[in-house]
Symmetry: D2
Subunit: 248 residues, 4 copies
């Protein structure tokens, strides 16, 4: 790992092809909009891939040269091949950062890593959301005000069936009466995972300056560190164990 | 759910049949030893089941009438049918308590709920373990001293590839130089999970008074509560959302 | 500690004397309303005390015979004597449960135990609050629905300057646009602490069936367990340390 | 805050004056040894101060221009002035990082921020310690192996009376039979705190390459971010609250 963070923005990329409104809003896809912003950030090298490419664009070679993967999926979670999901899973446990956006709460990779259903309440009437910063000293909150306001968005509401986050950075308020844990940090073996709620594809969420700032911060937070090469399995004692205790 | 906790002690039950030493140590199986103790506890109704029974002894009817399941497995994790694992998984998320003992760290059900490999270091030379109480106000530490000492045991060492526990109750010291997070509490949706390290089958661990006390305490801690009936999916707003925001 | 939980409902008790509206709403004081309910619960022995009694009604004898203390304070936090606060503090660390209600976020005892300012945003226009259950398997959520609704209440909003709770049970939604971590569990040495937001004194919050249910559940959750007698200070080695390492 | 991290290494500095052995081991003080190393790190500007300077070397001007303070204290905790402790406390809550080393577990500033006694078991016979990495993806574990070994050290043992860390990075094994949570991360309002166990002053701990690496990593992890300017107190509603609910 060099000092440059190699980022892969992955998108299912189906909506952009089938829905005229989304195609107009994100002419280069949601992945394109996010990648375009991240390319302006110092120290990031940014690529994109989509579901319909061979191997979903996620070959061994690509994954082995990715430090942080950003995941967008919505209507085609089940079209993602299990063998690819397993490769991403192993890379995350080995240190690759994973950022799951909005409807990626229901992606195979997020559910497998969480161990829960990741189910939630939802509603799509374009109501207002206010995302409050709960942990103001966390690097993912860098550069933000006390809250982010999104005028029109899809609602996600609690109970959100996830493990209690290692750190909860954001909680959302919705006009219709719900709340949601919107920014959730997890350590999973050597990998770090960030779930970030805002969406979805019919609103210009991924042009919002604060939303993009959070994604860039999350790239830096989830980027791998050169921690120990963890080893498992049968080990000899590090200390002398007396024969009285069965030691040799 | 009545006030009585309906406990199922589940055991793979293979070692006891194939290994003379284990058969002598646990003539009624490890499940038998644990069940015998739990039957002495007020407010518990205790049953047992093993891998080689039809449906592993875990039919829908049995699972629907179980409040807490205790899981022992070691050499035959892969013989546990995936459809049964899925049923246990759904029951845990719906509130059934799960206590995983020792080598059940590698059971399908524990790995699925943790979302990680649950791998670790291990060694079997019969060395000494000292299990320190880290959270002395936790109900699982009820009735214990500052530590539990096991003269001869298998070693499990860090790095233990699990999510950071919601509450860490015990940390083990091993004579050979390792440490281990030995008592780990998790909330997963409506269910509570407790992992308890001590083992294994060639030592009289499950006759140790403190080990049994911890298991009984964990039964009480993981027992379901009558919390809310969680609902997911598309929901109407609870508050009036003005049309300006897309509301109707 | 017997099986009966000895509960002390402590109230500053000033508002009830000076404000006609509060006096009418809580003719026996907020402490009286809460105590009256708790006395209907099996296994609880309930007493009350107020600020203006000698030693605030919290003598050594009283504290030593209290399992769980419920704290209400608002306008007279600074009139609570530091030596009494220290006694309560020591009892909590030694296992006594502490439940801080609403404006007790600013009590000396809560701030001392949290180590932070416990500051927050607030507003008093009688708006609506909806308290969502976030951890549906937690004993404090026993018997609740998915949320508690309070038609008229004081608002408390994030950023709430507390340590990240060991378990977050409730998050509140407010009509005016804020969110709040409303049910927060903490272990502090042998003691357990629960902060519960709803209030305040000019609304009939403490007659609400769900609010009272939560308080009763919290009494059970914070009640002490007979965990280890923790010892500190200079200790001899439990294992032989070779002289090579300075051991004797 | 510029990109340079302004580090203050603070030392009580008494042992070095009164104990010949310590004076020889750390001729420029423990603060001098740590500062010397940190000055070799890119992006750090390092100063030192000691107890016996006016205002302990921690004037308003110094504190306002410090991003991370490293704290060493042992025999003279009570000589640290309360008004200075309060200034450091306010700066930490406002974002300044705090790293407490070894016997600083008993410093006024750490106890005030933790809200607990921070008591522990200890022994000084020069036994061996092995510090295991528990969270291998954490930036504080950057560049380490699976464990750090210290041949001769003072023992600190559990129960360590601290709040459950937000992240537990290290657990220590001691030859004499104890374990200890040796690397503990906390968020407290805008500030981040890291407690790191190894010590003490009669051993060459602060020349150990891994120990120094951890301290440098911790400086980077605790360094402030430009998070939101948190505001507290009475606030107007962000949303229209209908008069029916008391709004205006």
């Amino acid at each position: 790992m060099s000092d440059t963070i190699r980022v892969m923005v992955w998108n299912e990329g189906r909506h952009e092809k089938t829905n005229q409104k989304i195609a107009e809003l994100y002419p280069e896809g949601i992945h394109g909009a996010i990648a375009k912003f991240l390319k302006t950030q110092p120290g990031m090298e940014v690529k994109t891939a989509t579901l319909d490419e061979p191997d979903h664009g996620l070959t061994d070679d690509v994954l082995n040269n990715t430090d942080v993967i950003i995941w967008w999926g919505h209507m085609a979670h089940h079209d993602v091949r299990d063998d690819i999901v397993n490769k991403v899973y192993n890379r995350v446990l080995d240190g690759m950062g994973l950022i799951c956006l909005h409807s990626a709460h229901f992606s195979k990779i997020f559910r497998k890593l969480m161990g829960t259903t990741c189910n939630l309440k939802w509603r799509e009437i374009g109501e207002k959301e206010r995302i409050w910063v709960i942990e103001p000293g966390h690097p993912i909150a860098d550069g933000l005000g006390e809250y982010i306001e999104l005028e029109h968005t899809e609602m996600y509401g609690e109970r959100f069936d996830i493990p209690d986050p290692d750190t909860l950075v954001f909680i959302s308020w919705f006009q219709g009466g719900e709340v949601f844990r919107s920014g959730c940090c997890y350590h999973r073996n050597k990998g770090k995972i960030f779930y970030f709620r805002p969406g979805h594809e019919t609103y210009p969420i991924f042009y919002n300056a604060d939303v993009l700032k959070v994604i860039a911060n999350a790239v830096r937070w989830t980027a791998p560190v050169k921690g120990p090469q963890v080893s498992f399995g049968n080990k000899k004692p590090l200390e002398k164990v007396s024969e009285a205790y069965g030691g040799k």
